[in-house]
């Protein structure tokens, strides 16, 4: 599903964020990426979603070399991914429901069908009652769950999440982690950057650890 071959990433004007990283994630696997702050976890996820391009080596997703993808092809890669960002990237000028509808609108679904599926996704993360709320009116945990609902609404077969349980109290973090475990259980490949390995132990995940851009 995901395959890194000697991938490296150097941002302009900084030291290597990733160097010579090789690993593979099989279909349906749950894989956690750990490592200190600045180790390159977010960079690793960004390479998968073609948000950044590798400076060396190759990154394959579903057999596609995403580093060499034409700009016009990138949107269609992303539509098959579920992305949960470290900073969530919710739109604060539209309701919870409209935030979740966005990926479906982008895919060209009719509004009624899109709203139906968005409500189902909100229901899955326990936010159906708050569909009309603006994100600013939601608690930190609710915002996190909203961003998960948006990531899964287009039924991706690969779910990427960047520290989805950070800044949450233990109980909320466990609820959020359970959502990912549910998706893993129905066969979705789940790839999570996190410090909170213990919330995911139930699924016996494989663990990758980064240190200064290198896989341990």
């Amino acid at each position: 599903m995901i395959r890194f071959e000697h991938a490296s990433k150097r941002y302009p004007g900084s030291i290597a964020a990733l160097s010579d990283v090789s690993f593979e994630v099989a279909r349906g696997e749950l894989v956690l990426v750990g490592g200190h702050s600045g180790a390159g976890k977010s960079t690793l996820l960004k390479l998968v979603a073609a948000i950044e391009r590798p400076s060396g080596g190759t990154v394959l997703v579903n057999g596609q070399n995403v580093g060499a993808l034409r700009p016009r092809a990138i949107p269609y890669l992303r539509r098959n991914l579920g992305l949960v960002f470290q900073d969530q990237k919710l739109l604060f000028d539209r309701s919870a429901l409209d935030n979740v509808v966005l990926p479906l609108a982008i895919a060209g679904l009719p509004p009624r069908e899109a709203a139906k599926r968005a409500r189902a996704a909100l229901d899955k993360v326990g936010l159906l009652a708050r569909e009309k709320a603006m994100p600013i009116a939601l608690s930190g945990g609710e915002q996190q769950r909203l961003s998960i609902a948006r990531a899964v609404v287009n039924r991706p077969n690969l779910l990427l999440a960047d520290e989805p349980t950070a800044h949450l109290d233990a109980e909320t973090a466990r609820d959020v982690a359970d959502i990912f475990l549910d998706f893993h259980r129905v066969g979705v490949t789940v790839f999570i950057a996190t410090y909170d390995d213990h919330y995911f132990e139930a699924a016996a995940p494989r663990k990758l650890v980064l240190s200064h851009g290198q896989l341990q």
Binding site: A49, I51, R72, P75, Y76, L77, R78, R79, L81, L83, F85, K89, L90, L91, F92, D93, L102, P103, A105, I106, A107, G108, L109, P110, P111, R150
Partner: protein, 299 residues
């Protein structure tokens, strides 16, 4: 096809929502566009009204034929027969010199001068309506009549109409220039408005890209936004011009009555109004497209 329709409807809805999100900004932009378009439209209307007025004031151009002062009445009637037979003349009126004298004497001040002369200074004359009112045909006719015996002078009465026509042509060129300039102004207004829109929608653009939006998807609502802005500005211009003509219609009518002209100020017809709206929409869309090419790149 269905997806296409869905996406365009969604983009249109979004554009309308963005217009409504900053009502004051939108209103000011629309007003600026409206005024920029009202000026050339008003100029166009002014010219077409002047042209109508000119046609009304001189419905058929005429020639005046003056006989030499020493010619007698028989010469005049012989000339009349020749005029009648001429294919290039549709009608004519004989103006005997006594009648001209009597008419002129009625004029304030002129009577005394004419009395002091002691004789009738006016020649016999014909007022001629040519078959063709084309300037070239009239010139040719005048040249031919000038060669006839005892014809002292030929005057083309429509000269001022043609001078006005030349002036109107000049006005039209000036108007085209003005329209081009203000059309450019309209593009500049939408360009800037869209630039600000891109700045305010920066988060939305970024998130949409991350969620798999194509360039077309991101541009579409901005295109609609620009086109709607242009259309609304065109409507504003139409409203401004219509109200202005409505307000001027009364005074112009009164003025016309003073000159015994029954003249109604015309406003923009439906076809002209459609062209105005079409051009405004197109210019708005163009401004948006240029602005997007500039400002979306930075992301």
């Amino acid at each position: 096809m269905k997806t296409w329709l869905t996406q365009h409807r969604a983009a249109l809805t979004l554009a309308l929502r963005r217009l409504r999100a900053a009502p004051l900004n939108s209103l000011l932009s629309i007003l600026a566009i409206g005024i920029a378009l009202a000026l050339p439209s008003g100029g166009y209307l002014l010219l077409s009204n002047l042209q109508r007025l000119a046609q009304k004031a001189a419905p058929t151009p005429r020639l005046s034929l003056f006989l030499s002062i020493d010619s007698d009445r028989r010469t005049a009637s012989e000339l009349g027969v020749r005029l009648k037979a001429h294919a290039g003349i549709s009608s004519y009126i004989f103006l005997p010199r006594e009648q001209t004298l009597a008419r002129m004497k009625k004029n304030e001040g002129l009577g005394d001068v004419i009395d002091a002369l002691g004789h009738n200074p006016f020649p016999d004359a014909y007022a001629i309506t040519p078959a063709s009112s084309a300037p070239e045909a009239m010139e040719a006719l005048a040249a031919e009549l000038r060669g006839w015996p005892k014809v002292e002078h030929i005057q083309i009465d429509s000269a001022w109409v043609r001078r006005l026509d030349a002036l109107l042509n000049l006005g039209r060129s000036g108007l085209a220039l003005l329209a081009a300039l203000l059309g450019g102004g309209l593009v500049a207004i939408t360009f800037n408005t869209i630039r600000l829109q891109v700045l305010t929608q920066r988060a939305e653009i970024e998130v949409s890209r991350l969620l798999g939006a194509t360039d077309a998807f991101i541009r579409r609502p901005f295109h609609y936004f620009g086109a709607l802005l242009g259309l609304a500005g065109g409507l504003a211009a139409w409203l401004i011009v219509s109200l202005a003509t409505l307000a001027l219609r009364g005074p112009v009518n009164q003025l016309g009555q003073l000159y015994a002209l029954n003249f109604d100020l015309a406003t923009l017809g439906p076809v002209e109004a459609c062209w105005l709206l079409f051009a405004a929409t197109l210019l708005g869309l163009g401004g948006a497209a240029i602005s997007l090419r500039q400002h979306l790149k930075q992301h």
